[in-house]
Amino acid sequence: MPSVGAEGLSSFAPSAGFLRRRRLLAGLFAALLWAAAALSVLITLAIVAVLIGESLPFLEEVGLSAVLLDTVWTPLFAEPRYGIWALVAGTLTTTLIALALALPAGLALALYLCEYAPPRLREAAKPVLELLAAVPTVVYGYFALLVVTPLLQGLIPGLPPFNMLAAGLVLGVMILPYAVSLSEDALRAVPRELREAAYALGFTRLQTGLGVMLPAARSGIVSAFLLALARAMGETMVVTLAAGQNPRFTFNPLEGAATMTAYIVQVSFGDVPYGSRAYRSLFVVALGLFLCTFAVNLLATLLSRKRSHRGA
């Protein structure tokens, strides 16, 4: 038992000064955290404000319907058209191809690492994945253009040098390590007891992985793929190099098409006179890209919340 002081207080009872300092420190820290959170929200809002502010004059000039009700994007032509869906189609097609590759492969790899791989391999895989995730995207871009497209052309005769298939596939490979690494973290965070319960009940590795580990790690895995997807959507080099810079309203992976990011980079490289109408269209595209990413985020949040709101 701790010794007890004269007034019946434990001799470890803290002094009033200590308590005051402690409270002050806690308050300071909370304020700091609040400020950091507020700052990141403010920055996001500021970006949105700039995008909207710069887009509005442009939209007033050409009209919202010219942007939303057209599918031809030719801002540099003598008779310019601003149908943003041409660019959105490019972004969506490449991103969906990337997801179609990265989602099954990523889940399978993460599960393999978590349930099947010998511990040594598991430990070795992690840094390799992180290294892969750090490869500059321009490398992936040339890889798509110079390796993947020729390979695909061998399989699919008549495939043009710029095509969304190669871009999307390489985009998928690019986000794969990222998605696997984050998913594996989520799987590893599943309480050991849960895994033991499954094996003790007679589950096979596959049943444990699919039936217990994946559901238990679901929210972490959803956000892993969400981050990966956002990266794929915002990725510029790969799609610019491999899918080309020709805006075309098509969802056919065998054609080339510019994405929103490819257009932004094209304009930013200075092919377009500063301050011109075509230049200002950049902000509308950026706003469109932001809205797309935001929509994906929202969707995924709803998805993971709807299924697990009763859970833990």
Partner: protein, 270 residues
């Protein structure tokens, strides 16, 4: 079926005649280079409750996990000795034995409740589904039966499709017991199943175990001597990884022969 309906045999006399469900012979176990179990030999009788007692850290959980090869999930362990699961004399620890075959015959309840992140119903049905049971009616029936046996049915019968995490800790533990019972395992391993429960829930589980012993073989780790006295037929006392004393509950708990057992029991009585 209730306890009262069962014929009450004279414990010691009949215990001798019960066939063995499990023969643990000269079992040693290492975590890495650290030996935790030393030459443990323990018979477990069919359709009897065998209680495993001993101070914290003496290796009770480790021993239990040898029996269903749960240590296989972590690398760097080593077994020596034999565990035979009867009938059939399945050599549990043999390298060529598929741990799945062992685990499909054995159920386990852990110290902390660990329900799957799914509905109450699916938790109980999980063990049946992986054994290939598909018929809805059969699943429904077995889920209800198991929940009744675990004493949870009345509380959850209207919310079977609620998420299991919404249950209280004690309810979750009873759910885990129901989950272990559903596939009707030959042997039930219980690792301090009542340590997370209040006295009322504990009493309920004990009553349940007493009732189950007519059908299942139970190996129960407990730190409650009264619990062992109330429901166990045989008691094994484990001390620093060695089996110090084993025999009918009445003898081990009342007239322990080994001084270490005596000291431990005296400490608990105080």
């Amino acid at each position: 079926m209730t306890v009262a309906a069962l014929p009450i045999p004279s414990r010691t006399a009949e215990a001798e005649e019960r066939p063995l469900k499990l023969r643990i012979a000269n079992l040693s176990f290492w975590y890495g280079r650290r030996q935790v179990l030393f030459d443990v030999t323990l018979p477990v009788r069919e359709r009897r409750i065998t209680a495993l007692i001993g101070p914290s850290g003496c290796g009770k959980s480790t021993l239990l996990r040898c029996i269903n090869r749960l240590h296989d999930l972590e690398p760097g362990h080593r077994y020596q000795g034999r565990i035979l699961l009867e009938p059939g004399g399945l050599d549990v620890l043999a390298p060529h034995t598929d741990p799945l075959l062992v685990r499909l015959r054995i159920g386990m309840v852990f110290q902390k409740p660990n329900p799957f992140p799914t509905s109450i119903y699916e938790n109980v049905a999980a063990g049946l589904r992986i054994r290939g049971v598909r018929k809805r009616a059969l699943l429904d029936e077995q889920v209800e039966k198991s929940l009744r046996r675990a004493g949870l049915w009345a509380e959850v019968k209207d919310r079977l499709h609620d998420h299991a995490f919404n249950l209280s800790g004690g309810q979750q533990q009873r759910l885990c017991i129901a989950r272990a019972l559903a596939p009707e395992p030959e042997l039930l391993l219980l690792d301090e199943p009542t340590s997370a429960l209040d006295p009322a829930a504990t009493a309920h589980i004990e009553a349940l175990l007493s009732e189950l012993k007519s059908r299942y073989t139970i190996l129960l780790v407990t730190h409650l001597m009264q619990q062992a006295a109330r429901i166990a037929h045989d008691v094994a006392f484990l001390h620093l990884g060695r089996l110090v004393e084993f025999g009918p509950a009445a003898e081990v708990l009342v007239r322990p022969r080994d001084p270490r057992t005596r000291r431990y029991l005296a400490g608990h009585a105080a």
